[in-house]
Symmetry: C2
Subunit: 351 residues, 2 copies
């Protein structure tokens, strides 16, 4: 491609160790963060924006709004427990929720491949309708583009959401302090394994279902319970490992987690072992991790367990002074290992 | 694909004369409207939403916000006068502007094809930065997904925008009344021809440049000049013909336009003739059409001509009582012909 007009003399292209986009740039892990930090942040994002997949919090005439966008390219379109439409609605709701916002309105932009069966489109849109209805949000505007056969894979959806920020606290990945406890709302790695097994058409005795769910009522319950929740993150691409690493880095703290304490379904654990995947790196779509002041952790845990999406909530670790910017896992056998952010790409097109 | 859970017993699939998505479903014309009316509206959009590519106007705690989204899939990524990045920023600004809103914040979601050169990505993002800066809006949040090689075409961008609605009037495609005049801000069909010639690598003596431009300051000037502007539409996919047909249908009026009065550059007209395209159906990205009460039309025209993006503005026709829901063109030779909404697809992936 030739340079757009006026590009000469503009911001210099950063030096990177690769010259093309890699699958890993969409992983939610290290490569994606590098792309955000070196390409998107210097050009697009105001300096106060933390990471690109967070909701931005805007002040418009005194009203505090959260604003977030996500593209969905999951393959296959339908998998046990969900489909791309439900994922697109819930994913955007969750990005708003973990910013302390009450989700209100969504937009949906569709990129369709020529030849996509209308039935498939209908089923996906129907699924979005139901997901929005269940979560109490409205899809109020949209767009449709069609590309020629072979130039997209069936159907991509970008949802963007607006919510009102009602929580007063800071609620940020940079607020974790030594002594805080780390809470998780339930068993990990189900979404990634459900999509992967559906894609590879592998069948296990007991099917693994995606955990896709709208987390906004769970978050609201937690925030009502304690004013000392430091941060909440939805645990999606890049898995629990990436979410915890982001918090450790942003807050300049160490995080210890305990393998024994992290809930995981037996069949998910088994599938990860067979496929050689670390469940800490596998994507979720209905999980959140919260860092909470130690004294309030028991009551926040109680509130989570009383909510249908937090029945298996657990305290999985703590924030420490040592090992700043590192996440350490105490294994079942009692040793410690460093849990890194996902480096390359494990499961492309997981959401 | 198998049906998503619970799809059985849900809304029945509409009867349509095609079973798959056609390129024409992205045209901005009749097929796209049918898809919106039969698939998206019954499932997703609240009944009061007019058409899917309009901005929704939301009331949040007394604040009136416009909210709009657009996917951009233009091929090639760069063309004379612009590129996909500039198009994505300006297109969303314009959707907000014609809703009477002051554009404030944008989000940007990228779908990248594995193997896309980082240089290309940088140039596109750089171009977005400059377009946003020039227009005075901030890109505050985003997302990146990567799909495997061959599953997308280089780079797609979805931009979503928020603006504050400051105009008090109704400003709607259903507000046109017989006697009103139709105003256009400048020569048509340049964007579509620029992209098409770039794609086909046809070179003309004088290059045709896209008209991509942010129209919000022009719209603000117009709205300050007269409280009797009935509606403003940006004239994009589907061309002037589709925009006027939408107004005629929504307002249940006839529209007469005068071929002689419609500005078009000689080289654009020549290119359309050679390629057998009707310039009334060719896309624009910096054009708007306004329906204005007859008594205020001269002063609105004056205000438009005093703005850099309206120097060649013209009164191109009038709203009439007869021929309800039809747009009639008085040709140069004095006859009349019906101007239909674009039926199929003339130029896929024009924006």
């Amino acid at each position: 491609m030739t340079a757009p007009e006026g590009a000469a003399g503009a911001c210099p292209i950063p030096s990177l160790s690769y010259r093309t986009v890699l699958l890993g740039h969409g992983s939610g892990g290290r490569l994606m963060h590098e792309l955000i930090e070196k390409v998107f942040r210097p050009l697009l994002l105001p300096p106060e924006t933390r990471v690109l997949n967070d909701a931005a919090v805007l002040d418009i005439n005194g009203l505090r709004l959260a604003f977030t966008t996500d593209a969905f390219v999951v393959d296959p379109l339908v998998f046990p427990g969900g489909d791309i439409g439900r994922l697109a609605v819930n994913g955007t709701i969750n990005d708003l929720a973990v910013s302390g916002a009450r989700p209100l309105f969504l937009s949906a932009a569709f990129i369709l491949e020529e030849g996509l069966p209308i039935d498939t489109l209908w089923q996906v849109v129907e699924s979005m309708r139901r997901a929005a209805e269940e979560a109490g949000v409205s899809i109020v505007t949209g767009d449709t583009k069609v590309v020629d056969r072979g130039k997209a894979d069936k159907l991509f959806i970008t949802t963007t959401g607006i919510g009102v920020v009602e929580y007063e606290g800071p609620l940020s990945a940079s607020e974790a302090r030594p002594g805080d406890l780390v809470l998780l709302n339930g068993p990990i790695a189900a979404h990634g394994m459900a999509v992967m097994l559906a894609r590879e058409q592998v069948e296990f005795e007991r099917p693994i279902c995606s955990d896709t769910a709208p987390l906004h009522t769970l978050v609201a319950t937690m925030l009502q319970t304690s004013p000392r929740i430091r941060c909440i993150r939805d645990v999606t691409r890049g898995g629990l490992a990436s979410a915890l690493n982001e918090i450790a880095t942003s807050s300049q703290v160490g995080i210890h987690i305990d393998e024994e304490a992290i809930p995981i379904q037996e069949e998910v654990k088994g599938a990860c072992e067979i496929l050689g995947l670390d469940p800490l790196h596998v994507a979720n779509e209905g999980k959140l991790v919260a860092v909470v002041a130690r004294e309030d952790a028991p009551k926040v845990l109680g509130a989570m367990r009383a909510h249908p999406l937090g029945r298996e909530a657990a305290i999985i670790g703590e924030v420490v002074e040592d090992h700043r910017r590192l996440v350490l896992l105490r294994t079942r056998v009692g040793g410690f290992r460093v849990v890194s952010m996902l480096a390359g790409e494990q499961l492309p097109r997981i959401c």
